[in-house]
Symmetry: C2
Subunit: 280 residues, 2 copies
Amino acid sequence: MTLTKVSSAKVAGGWHQQFSHSATSTACAMRFAIFLPPQAGPNNPVPVVYWLSGLTCTDENFMQKAGAFKKAAELGLAIVAPDTSPRGDGVADDPEGSYDFGLGAGFYVNATQQPFAKHYQMYTYVVEELPALIEANFPVTSQRAISGHSMGGHGALMIALRNPSLFSSVTAFSPIAHPTECPWGVKAFTGYLGEDKKIWTQYDSTLLMQNKSTGPAALVDQGDADNFLQQQLKPEHLQQAAKQSGYPLTLRMQAGYDHSYFFISSFIDEHLAFHAQRFG
Amino acid sequence: MTLTKVSSAKVAGGWHQQFSHSATSTACAMRFAIFLPPQAGPNNPVPVVYWLSGLTCTDENFMQKAGAFKKAAELGLAIVAPDTSPRGDGVADDPEGSYDFGLGAGFYVNATQQPFAKHYQMYTYVVEELPALIEANFPVTSQRAISGHSMGGHGALMIALRNPSLFSSVTAFSPIAHPTECPWGVKAFTGYLGEDKKIWTQYDSTLLMQNKSTGPAALVDQGDADNFLQQQLKPEHLQQAAKQSGYPLTLRMQAGYDHSYFFISSFIDEHLAFHAQRFG
């Protein structure tokens, strides 16, 4: 597997780098970003926090706006941010060009519907292909945590719940917590997965959590001034599911915060510390 | 003076807000951003750090990418970021549309040449109009510091050197340290100020510093992997000027860092602490 370096910049004593590679799962070139803390090296591999971004984002939004590197450097954590969908010539997009479906909106599922099934295999990319690539090419351990925002918060929770042996902890900001019951989720799942709602359930964090009493420790932060809270995000459904099953979820409503990266930057240090504590 | 609120978001326990107003000096609508730390209030006014951005930027780049709010909240500092030029209908731009002259490239001078003189009065805007507006409308003291990046580093140093009673300290990242001797500066000064190089000298930090033995304490950080270092930035000229006059300048060459916000985010906390210490 060949990695092509797209950029490299020193930050917080470590390095931010972008790479592109030809991905098998999504059958296209994929770009990702990695932050390597100063202490990472062949003789000192570090754990990895995977970050999944929200609608319209690329690998760049978190890396430029979250302000996470100082704490990650202090804790000795690598951070890896994939893109939010396949891209490039031949990759199908929403014919209407909407922001919440198609390019920039892969929803971290494996699409079964045409014309999306060929490239929109983001679940396999994030769960299998990307971690294997990272662990083969960078000074990291196989310790993994996962986090994300909005659509990426959905992705992080859903992926951790389905793969408890692969991730030691999961955190999310403003996740789409119950996608089968909100407009963003219904639109995406219908388009990528078809009308059979039984398939949808395996990608819904609320439905997954209500049947699991154990799994990666989960921390969710949600701003109460978030414009998408009531119609799209529904964290109270996730909390109810955790209550029902006994799942180890901590949901924190944060007074006055909205859906933006200003919110993420305010609490990302605490999320990184949460992951570092579980890495031990 | 009417301020129109453009946006408001909670961050790091404080608030990031954008406002627009009809500016007298630049004869157009100007937008600026302000961060107010959590402790700021009518009974607890806080000092202000003014941030001047570089070429192509607006009030948003620093606020979204510098990761400065946690430290500013801890230290109890407000941060104000103006735009980098006048904008809007009727504001002249470079006829060639280049990135380094005209819109987004005001260079913090008062233009004397047509068609720029009418609106490109950024020196007066930053030195007089904006601070007066901030101090009349927000819970801040009259304690001021100034900082900036690249073109804004030039602006911060030049403004502090010319107004030592208005700013208690100045810091800069990768400043255009000797604009009368580099392509960016010569192009801008010719376009805004004309051919008379005597007028240029009042806007050149190296020339100003070499004749001043006292003034606001100055800290400059410069990455040694900055692509613009040799041709455009020339910090060694500034250091030579300080050596000649005895000016209190600390120049730090930072190994491996480039010209980007990754560099700024790595050291902004130290710059804020430098200003806070001088505020006392």
